[in-house]
């Protein structure tokens, strides 16, 4: 047993997080009693309709695979029997399969959608999301769009992209009001977007604090707070308070060198979502004193994007930010403020694969990562033909790389758990590390 390198202690905010989570689940049950279920992404606006509940396939599908391999296999088989390939995103094979079966794992009916708002993404099945519910019944579909650009700031391009996105969202909102006869609460939307901006600021601070050695929070713990933002739709001020408290605690831990992992001596990163049903590998790595700092996937969502400046220094990635007191008098004002910061988002997991390697290197350098664990998924999110190129570039930059293979984050089928841990052993021992416990 090696002497502990850093002081560590549990996060004090756990209890509060659990309470919020319970509150969130209760509020969903309440809203279930109302009519109208959408299927969309980036749906802050959905909370501003009185009777619309958003169902996002990604978390639902991930949870299905995590809860029951047996039921998710049945769901995927239901999809495959209708001709959908195994390379389709696992989250969606689970959800859509349950839709074809007509029931969920507990026997309750599948929550059929009343409309869909898919938007395109790098794994492409996002655009097909709307197709499945529409195959069953002729429900309305609005196509979200997510244009963004990379490279140096380009004001003209930015304006065109933002105009387009504002147009798409405004059309969705106007149409949904008309088709479902529901009044959109513009005042609530403005309040929500203001709060979201503040929350992103706090979360961004937390994520930047992870550059500290030792890191005050690991990505395994961070994932527990990852979906808290969804609460914004219900009680934005409460969530803002929560993120403020989280920021305060993480900052205190960073200032006082309170580590997430008491024996932190190796920092590693990822690139895409993990195998959600098998998160124990994070704890397994901690036996070597190796802590996961996260990935562009985890950090971009919270707004912690870094880039190398022309003078060689590192800092926050430049995005368009409106002054806090910018008036939000009209629906267009609010949608514009809500959608603009993402217009230049090269750090996000949606970026072009040609440029992803560079963003990984930026991440590794900023967060002082020694190694990177890159999945080779067979389909869905993270199915990336450029994975080996990313590995090559990272290795050239001095970052050790190990791969593991599996089907996709929401599908247990091909993840060899023992083989996975064996690879981690090989990786760590090749880095000169032995288990500390």
């Amino acid at each position: 047993m090696t002497k502990q390198l850093w002081e560590t202690r549990p996060l004090e905010i756990w209890q509060r997080a659990k309470e919020l989570r319970a509150q969130w689940e209760h509020s969903i049950e309440e809203k279930d009693k109302l009519v109208g279920q959408g299927q969309t992404y980036a749906g802050d606006w959905s909370a501003c309709f009185p009777a619309i509940r958003v169902i996002e396939d990604n978390p639902v599908g991930a949870k299905m695979a995590s809860d029951s391999d047996e039921f998710s296999r049945i769901c995927r088989l239901a999809m495959e029997s209708r001709g959908w390939g195994r390379e389709i995103c696992g989250y969606h094979l689970n959800c859509w399969g349950a839709q074809f079966l007509g029931h969920q794992r507990d026997g309750s009916g599948f929550p059929y959608r009343d409309f869909v708002v898919p938007f395109p993404d790098v794994c492409d099945q996002h655009a097909k999301r709307g197709q499945q519910p529409m195959d069953l019944s002729p429900i309305p579909r609005w196509q979200g769009d997510y244009p963004m650009y990379i490279g140096p700031r380009d004001a003209a391009r930015e304006e065109a992209l933002v105009d387009h996105r504002v147009y798409c969202l405004q059309k969705e909102l106007n149409d949904i009001e008309r088709v479902f006869d529901q009044k959109f609460d513009d005042g609530r939307y403005a309040r929500l977007i203001r709060e979201r901006s503040i929350q992103h600021g706090y979360m961004s601070e937390v994520l930047f604090l992870m550059a500290n050695v030792p890191t005050p929070i690991s990505v395994k713990d961070l994932y527990s707070f990852y979906t808290m933002g969804g609460l914004t739709k219900l009680a934005p001020e409460v969530v803002t308070d929560f993120f403020r408290a989280l920021r305060d605690e993480i900052k205190w831990r960073a200032d006082n060198q309170i580590a997430a992992v008491g024996n932190e001596r190796y920092r590693w990163m990822e690139v895409h979502p993990p195998a959600w049903h098998y998160l124990r590998y994070y704890r397994y790595m901690e036996q070597y004193g190796a802590v996961c700092i996260g990935s562009p996937y985890t950090h971009a969502g919270g707004g912690a994007q870094v880039e190398q400046k022309p003078d060689g220094t590192w800092g926050s990635r430049e995005t368009v930010e409106y002054p806090e007191d910018t008036p939000m008098l009209t629906r267009e004002d609010v949608t514009r403020i809500a959608l603009t910061p993402d217009a230049r988002a090269p750090y996000h997991f949606k970026i072009d694969e040609y440029l992803r390697p560079q963003s990984l290197i930026e991440f590794a350098r900023f967060y002082k990562c020694d190694g990177a664990l890159l999945p080779i998924w067979r389909g869905g999110v993270g199915c990336d033909m450029w994975r080996k190129e990313q590995a090559r570039r990272l290795k050239e930059a001095g970052v050790s790389v190990m791969h593991y293979e599996g089907s996709q984050p929401g599908d247990r089928t091909d993840l060899d758990e023992h083989g996975f841990l064996d690879r981690l052993d090989i990786w760590m021992e090749s880095q000169g590390l032995e288990k500390l416990v």
């Binding site: 080996k388 190990m402 293979e405 091909d414 083989g419 052993d425 090989i426 021992e429 090749s430």
Partner: protein, 257 residues
């Protein structure tokens, strides 16, 4: 000091006993499947007998391989690339890389000047290019591994099989046989496919392999595959006579440290 290394692989168990830095005894046999622990026991006795010592004379034992946790009496375990890297420096003190081509995994390790590991590249999950594929196809072609090993470099005579998937390799092989190709020609194509796969792993690293690369593992005993790999990679591998014992030897050398 007397130490021992036990490599419990998918196909075979290899044991090496080292006395004062020199090999004093060794033994190998089938891994025994579910009876792996018993197989280790039998081979352990055999190796001790060859070394002319008793079990109590061995001060430290280290185990490696897929079944390393089945060696109940091991003092420590190490992963295969670590063992392979140590063995490479034993065989060739100036070794810069080691390729360990085994039944269930291929590992390519590059070494720094001092012998520390620089980079590890592993095969992907598919069995294509592995020793288990060779054994499987040998059975299908009704040839022995020795017969396949003895094939000349041009045995394939222009025939090719898939190199990405063992199932497809088998299908391709059957198709060639049905079209009238001789088993030796198909076996030549299979050897070439294995070499392609091994070479891919060699190329999956930043530091290129050189002629100071040691080749160990059971596949190293197959001259035809090795010749195909040499031709494809352009590397003149250093292949020890007891190449299949590589990881066991490395383990034995590491056991006392």
């Amino acid at each position: 000091m007397i130490t021992a290394g036990i490599d419990v692989g998918l196909e075979a168990i290899k044991i090496v006993i080292v006395k004062d830095g020199e090999v004093a005894g060794k033994a190998q046999g089938l891994s025994g499947g579910a009876g792996r622990e018993q197989a280790v026991g039998r081979l352990w006795d055999e190796a001790l007998k060859e070394a002319g010592i008793g079990a109590s004379d061995v001060q430290k034992v280290a185990a490696t391989g897929a079944g390393k946790y089945d060696v109940a009496f091991a003092d420590k375990t190490v992963t295969e690339p670590i063992a392979g890297a140590r063995a490479a420096r034993y065989y060739l003190p100036g070794a810069t890389s080691v390729v360990d081509a085994g039944a269930s995994q291929t590992r390519v390790v590059t070494l720094r000047e001092g012998g520390e590991i620089e980079e590890v590249a592993l095969n992907q999950k598919c069995g294509a290019g592995l020793g288990s594929q060779l054994r499987y196809l040998a059975r299908r072609l009704e040839m022995t591994l020795d017969e396949i090993s003895a094939l000349p470099p041009d045995a394939a005579a222009g025939f090719t099989v898939n190199d990405g998937c063992v199932v497809f390799i088998e299908l391709d092989s059957l198709e060639l046989l049905n079209e009238g190709a001789a088993p030796t020609q198909v076996a030549g194509a299979v050897n070439d496919a294995i070499a392609v796969r091994l070479n891919m792993i060699l190329n999956d690293k930043i530091t290129p392999a050189k002629d100071t690369t040691v080749l160990i593992g059971g596949v190293a005993k197959n001259a035809a595959v090795v010749n195909a790999l040499k031709a494809r990679s352009g590397i003149g591998f250093v292949i020890p006579a007891d190449a299949e014992y590589g990881c066991a030897l490395g383990c034995a050398l590491l056991a006392g440290s």
